[in-house]
Structures are given as C-alpha cells and as structure tokens.
C-alpha cells in the first residue's frame, strides 16, 4: 500500500523531459485556399509557422493576435503561415467564418508537416529566421507571453542576412 503510493507519487513528481527544436526548418509545401505555399519561397522573410485546429480552444485567442502581428510587421518582411491539421475541411471553414484570418492558411489534414516539426502540443508555433532556421518553438498560446513573443519577432526582423 505504501509502496504503491510512493511509486505513484514518484511518477507524479518526476522531472519532465524537454526538447527544443532548432536547426534548419523542415520544408513545407502545402495547398492553401487559393493555391500553394512553400517555405523555401519565403526565404529572406521571418516566418511564424503556426499549427492550429478548429477544436483547439487557445487558437481562438491566438488568431486575433496573429492578425495584429501580420498587419504590424508585414512590410518589414514578416509572414505568418498557419497550418490547419483538421481532418475535415468543413471544421476549419466554420472556425474561420467565426474568427477570420488575414494571414495565409495552409491545409495539412494528413499531419505530415506537424510530424516533421515534432509538434508536442496544440497550438504550436515556430519562429523561422531569414536564413530558414528554426529560432524557437512555442507550445500553447498564453496571453501573458504576447509581449515577449512580439519582442522576439522584432529582434529577428532586425537581423538581416
């Protein structure tokens, strides 16, 4: 009984493993509503690659913020590509009708791109610098982190090739 409780508590309190994704960003070639998007075409820009789904609650808060970022930093060479991973396109369409996006939406129902990026939680966003390398990985969306997030984007935009 005591052994059982101890083992359980040990599992409960053990240290988590942590993995941060860095290195060259895996290639992305996906359809969008009007055509296609390819990450290699965006070389030279700072890219925020976001993985979202209609069933993800925090995505409802991240979209208005991403709209704001896109508008604010577009002319400095900032691009947001939001990859939808819904298995049914109707679900994504319904989400977008309630929460419109000014940035590019790409569709990956088979989940090959999140697999390549080793996505660990929804939503996940990767900041990719002008050289096509992953700068940082952000799991989840928290209103508290918006300021620091924006500061990181600005610093990446300042660094030129």
């Amino acid at each position: 009984m005591v052994l059982f409780a101890t083992l359980f508590c040990a599992a409960l309190l053990s240290m988590p493993a942590f993995a941060l994704d860095t290195g060259p960003a895996p290639s992305v070639n996906l359809p969008t509503r009007d055509g296609k998007i390819s990450l290699s075409d965006l070389r030279g820009k700072v890219v925020l690659l976001d993985f979202w789904a209609s069933w993800c609650g925090p995505c409802r808060q991240s979209f208005p913020w991403m709209n704001e970022m896109q508008a604010k930093y577009e002319n400095q060479g900032f691009e947001i590509v939001a990859v939808n991973v819904d298995q049914k396109p109707e679900a994504a369409a319904e989400f977008l009708s309630q929460i419109p996006a000014t940035f590019t939406i790409a569709y990956d129902p088979e989940g090959k791109t999140p697999e390549a990026y080793e996505v660990m939680g929804m939503p996940s966003a990767y900041l990719i610098d002008r050289n096509g390398h992953i700068h940082s990985q952000h799991i989840g969306f928290h209103n508290d982190n918006k300021e620091t997030y924006e500061a990181t984007i600005r610093s990446l935009l300042r660094a030129r090739n």
Binding site: F8, C9, R60
Partner: protein, 452 residues
C-alpha cells in the same frame, strides 16, 4: 441532500460528495471540451432542477442546482456551486412489520407515530431543507502540472458538513497520460433531533406509563452530539488509448471515524421463545414491544477501484462504460456497472442509460434481533443495524437523457431515470416469516437542465 432521512450513511458520503463536487469542477482542466466554453473572461453556467419521487408515499424531493465557472487567462478556472434541496416523505426506520399495530416514539421524544398491521414501518417525521455550497479553483503550474483546491459546506437543521480538498495532476507522454492524486479532509457535526440516542438502548414508549416516567426514560437514552471526520485519497490514471478511445483507472481509499451511526434508525427485537408469541415482537417489562436504537462501528475504511472507458464511433456517437468495485471493513463489497450510449441526432442527442448495482450486507447488518441476542438489555453484539442500505441489495436503473444544443454555449436537456431496488436477507421465523421484510424500493427522478 438527505433523500431518505438523516441517515449517517448518507452523511458519511459527504466527502465523496465533496470530492465529486471538486471533480465536477476540475473536469475539463487543460482539456476544455467545448470550443467556446472555457474562453477567458466568460462565465459558463449550468443550471438544473431535479425532482425525485419514491413509490408508496416515501421520499419526495426537489433539488435546484446552479454551477457557475469563471474562466481566466491561462486555463485557470473558478467554479462556484450552490445546491438546495427540500425533502418530505417517509423512509424505513429499520423495524419489522408485524401482525399487530405498532407505535413508535418520534426522534424528538415529543410525539409518536403508528403503523398498521402488516404495514412497513416508515418514519414520516422529516421535512427538511438543506443548502450546500462549494468552491473550486484549478490552474496549471506549467505544461506538465496542474492543481486544484476546493472547499465545501452544507447545512441542514440537524447536520453541518464541511470539507476541503486538493489535487495534483501530472501529464506524461504528450498529455496522453495524466496522473492525478487527490486528498480530501472533512468534518461533520451531528446534532440529531432529540439528541443522539445511546446505541442499542431501548426506544422508550409512552404507552402504559406516566409522562414523567417516559421523560426520564427518554433522557436516559440520550448521548451527546457528536462529530465525524473523514479522510479520502484518490489516485487516478487517465490514458488516451487511440484517437477514439479514452480510459481512466482510479483507486480510492476513504477512512471515516466518529459518529457513523444513524440516530433515527431502530431494530425490532423478536421473541424467539417457543409459545404463542414466537416470531412476534418481544414484549418488555412495561408491556410495550422492544425496539432498540441502532449502533454502527466508529470507524470505517473503504477501498474502491474504478475503471471507465469512453469510445467514439465513426458517426460521432459516444459509448461510455464504467465499473466500480468497492470493499470496506464493515464487510460490504459492491459492484457497479454503468453504461451510456449517446446517439447524435444533428443539433440534439438522445442518451439511454443503464446501471446495475450489487451489494453484500454489512457484518453487523441484522434485519431484526432475537430476544436471545437482546439478552434482556445486555445485547450480545456491540454493533447492529437494520438499515436496508447496509443489507444485501440489487439496484437496476434505466434512464434516458435528451439534449438540444442551440450553439456551442447553450444547451437544454431533460433526463429521466427509474430505479428498481430489491433487498434480501434473513427471512425471519414464526409469525415474522409471514411478513414482507424486504419490500422493493422504486424511485423515479426527472431533471431539467439549461447550460449557457
């Protein structure tokens, strides 16, 4: 909610109730089901009204509930819940029916009630209102941990119940596995009408004696008010099996100590001496039948194992099945099987429900005591109870819920359930054997709820 009467059996479940209340508020932590629900800055409110009714003029109750959750940034939630219930009606006192009319003293000592020959002895002296409030706060610590804390209190005129609880959850395997540990501590204050009776003492009856003699006898059978403390711990593992399947396994342990007896329950003493009264109520020195107040042990240790599975079919229908095994040191073991099927019908759903419950009797459960066991006022046992809820029991529940979803936020639902409870045990002897010692209990409840 005291659905039957002020049985400590139901009160000893208050901590389970507190945990359940905390549970209900904790649900969806970091895993908010609905899209629009759980959005920061909003309130999610669930209101309901339950109407409960037992057959044969037994308990009737009405219970409104309001549960409101305020969502904050960062997946933090505060839940406040208010439940009120009004209870009327009669419930079995534990005495046996007889071929002769029977009179019992009411719990306050200020009155009595009569039961006709062959009728089940029901104590009709309760009309009660109870109010319960609970508050629960849950928040993540980081991506891997979340916690919750909560408090609970309820009050009715003869009972006060309080509890606090806390839990810690740990995520593993990309949130496919969740480990949860919870602890609850509760203290109840019992203040029965007329004072708590001395266990296994004889119920004073005012027939054949002066009021002064009766009052003296009544005062002698009174004990002081008492308290009950409870410690509950729950260890659980929730595991995503695949895209459509989720399972949960819990181990629970619960320890209560203090006044666990039901102050309003009695046992009949049956004459086992051969002769004309064989199987009839034992007649005491004052010419009245002998009834004893019940007595339960002052500690109870329960263990439970619980397994639940949820499975979503290709068409969106959801199957929900669970099994619970419980065993305690009162000698009771129980099995509970619960099955639901949610049938999606566009904007609405229909969910039939079936529950099967099986329970063995407590070690000290006695449908009646014999005169030999009563031993002229020095009973051979320390504990005895004729409360049918501690006896051998089978319960079958059939129900259905119909709900209509206006949108992501609002839902209207109506639910109906019908319970058939049968009991069994010692069939008695002599003239007692011709009485129905185990009448069925049938109950129905209807619930209307609205969430917004």
């Amino acid at each position: 909610m005291q659905l039957i009467d002020h049985s400590n059996n139901s009160k000893s479940k208050t901590v389970g109730r507190a945990l359940a209340a905390a549970t209900c508020a904790l649900l969806g932590v970091h895993a908010t089901g609905s899209l629009a629900k759980g959005q920061p800055g909003e309130w999610d409110v669930e209101t309901a009204l339950l109407v409960y009714s037992e057959t044969d003029d037994r308990v009737q109750a009405a219970e409104p509930v309001i549960s409101a959750t305020r969502n904050f940034d960062g997946e933090r939630k505060l839940n406040l819940k208010l439940v009120a219930d009004t209870l009327t009606g009669a419930s079995p006192s534990g005495a046996t029916p007889s071929a002769l009319p029977q009179t019992y003293t009411s719990p306050s000592g200020n009155g009595s009630y009569e039961i006709a020959p062959g009728e089940a002895p029901l104590d009709d002296t309760f009309k009660d209102t109870r109010v319960a409030v609970s508050a629960n706060w849950e928040a993540p610590i980081n991506r891997d941990y979340a916690y919750s804390v909560g408090a609970y209190g309820s009050k009715e005129y003869d009972y006060l119940s309080t509890a606090v609880n806390a839990s810690l959850s740990r995520y593993l395997n990309n949130k496919n596995t969740t480990l949860t540990g919870g602890l609850s501590l509760g203290v109840d204050l019992v203040d029965p009408v007329g004072g708590a009776p001395v266990g296994l003492s004889r119920m004073p009856l005012n027939n054949n004696k002066s009021q002064a003699d009766f009052d003296q006898e009544f005062a002698a059978t009174r004990d002081s008010d008492d308290t009950k403390t409870m410690v509950d711990a729950l260890f659980g593992v929730t595991q995503v099996i695949n895209r459509q399947t989720l399972m949960q396994f819990n181990y629970g342990i619960s320890y209560s100590s203090g006044y666990l007896t039901d102050p309003y329950k009695i046992l009949s003493v049956i004459d086992d001496a051969s002769g004309s009264n064989y199987g009839g109520n034992l007649v005491g020195g004052d010419g009245n039948p002998v009834y004893l107040y019940e007595q339960r042990p002052d500690t109870r240790l329960k263990h439970s194992l619980y397994w639940q599975t949820k499975y979503m079919l290709g068409n969106g229908d959801v199957m929900d099945g669970s099994y619970r095994f419980m065993i305690d040191d009162w000698g009771i073991t129980s099995h509970t099987l619960d099955l639901k099927y949610r049938w999606q019908l566009g904007k609405s759903y229909l969910e039939p429900h079936f529950r099967y419950y099986l329970q063995s009797e407590a070690d000290f459960y006695k449908r009646y005591l014999t005169a030999s066991e009563y031993n002229s006022g020095a009973p051979v046992m320390t504990d005895a109870s004729a409360d049918y809820r501690l006896g051998e029991m089978t319960g079958l529940t059939f129900g259905a819920k119909w709900g209509y979803r206006f949108d992501d936020d609002r839902e209207l639902a109506i639910r109906a359930e019908y319970l058939i409870q049968t009991n069994d045990g010692d069939q008695g002897f002599g003239s007692l054997a011709s009485q129905d010692l185990y009448p069925d209990t049938n109950a129905m409840w209807l619930q209307l709820s609205y969430s917004f």
